[in-house]
């Protein structure tokens, strides 16, 4: 067994069986990564039909390309690269005006970014993880420009390492860190606006309750 093959074996797959087109081994590969690929696609595209198309196209291309897959990268890295390209092509097709992912970042870190100082950490957990909050989290991701969105999704939603994200996107580790930082700061900004409002609403409700209670008590 050579070193390259080792990389695939550590992910729990037999490269030999995959090269031979063994359907059982291929189905194990689909089973292992389809959820993460779908998550990447739905967060990139925010549209179920488009995400499904990207998912299918990714594995069709993978199936066709497996014969020439040399095991120099991890299978997951290779699959995420196919899926990312498919998702970006879909965006280009639908929104040809969108800028390229390789476009250099225009301002120095933090220079022009707004910065809200609202401490919403102490909000109760059921408030922070409510269904409405989850929707807001998705909306905030959609607002990110795609070059930041794709890095954020791979790193913080799909839990890839900095280096693996860099390999998927063909970027340097430093570029991944910079983009992740920008993405997270922008998301923090969005969430600060939202949770700041929620915090005020909660305070108002509590105030009304206590006023109501004291009126009752005195009346």
């Amino acid at each position: 067994m050579n070193g390259n093959e080792n990389k695939v074996e550590t992910e729990g797959f037999s490269l030999e069986a995959l090269h031979a087109g063994n359907p059982e081994e291929f189905s194990r590969l689909v089973d292992a990564y389809s959820s993460k690929i779908y998550r990447l696609a739905i967060k990139m595209l925010n549209q179920q039909q488009d995400a499904e198309d990207v998912l299918q196209e990714t594995f069709l291309k993978a199936y066709r390309g497996l014969k020439s897959f040399d095991g120099r990268s991890k299978l997951s890295t290779w699959l995420f690269r196919i899926a990312t390209n498919e998702a970006l092509m879909m965006i280009r097709r639908k929104h040809p005006e969108v800028v390229s992912i390789d476009e250099p970042v225009e301002t120095e870190e933090g220079e022009q970014e707004p910065l809200q100082i609202i401490d919403w950490c102490c909000l109760p957990e059921n408030e922070l993880l409510s269904a409405e909050t989850k929707e807001r989290l998705d909306v905030a991701v959609q607002k990110l420009p795609e070059r930041l969105r794709v890095v954020f999704i791979l790193r913080d939603i799909n839990d890839l390492s900095t280096h693996e994200t860099a390999e998927v996107l063909g970027l340097s580790d430093t570029a991944v860190k910079t983009r992740l930082s920008r993405a997270r700061l922008r998301l923090r900004e969005e969430l600060s606006t939202y949770f700041g409002e929620r915090r005020n609403d909660l305070r108002e409700t509590q105030l009304n309750k206590s006023m109501h209670a004291s009126q009752k008590g005195s009346g």
């Binding site: 359907p23 689909v30 389809s34 779908y38 499904e52 594995f59 989850k134 913080d156 839990d159 923090r188």
Partner: protein
């Protein structure tokens, strides 16, 4: 950090902003880390930014795993790949 009633000068805060993401991951190099932590001791606004940034990452991590592929989409995927025999019921 920007407009604030604190007495402290906030000139450095924006320069530190770019290192906060690595800081919450615990990956910031030692020297920068101690500069930042010294700063945080005296700057409540920056502490709030760090805490809410950490919470932002946490919320996405917490909710990410709950979103799985819908079963009808999964079924169509297996069918399109001709591996529906391996679909676990």
């Amino acid at each position: 950090m920007m407009e604030t009633t604190n007495k402290h000068e906030h000139k450095n805060c924006r320069q530190l902003l770019g290192s906060l993401s690595e800081y919450v991951d615990g990956e910031l190099d030692e020297e920068l880390c101690s500069v930042l932590e010294n700063h945080l001791e005296g700057c409540e606004d920056c502490r709030i930014v760090v805490d809410t940034l950490r919470k932002t990452v946490y919320l996405y991590h917490e909710t990410a795993g709950t979103e799985n592929i819908p079963s009808d989409i999964r079924q169509r995927l297996y069918k399109s790949l001709n591996i529906e025999n391996y679909l676990e019921k």
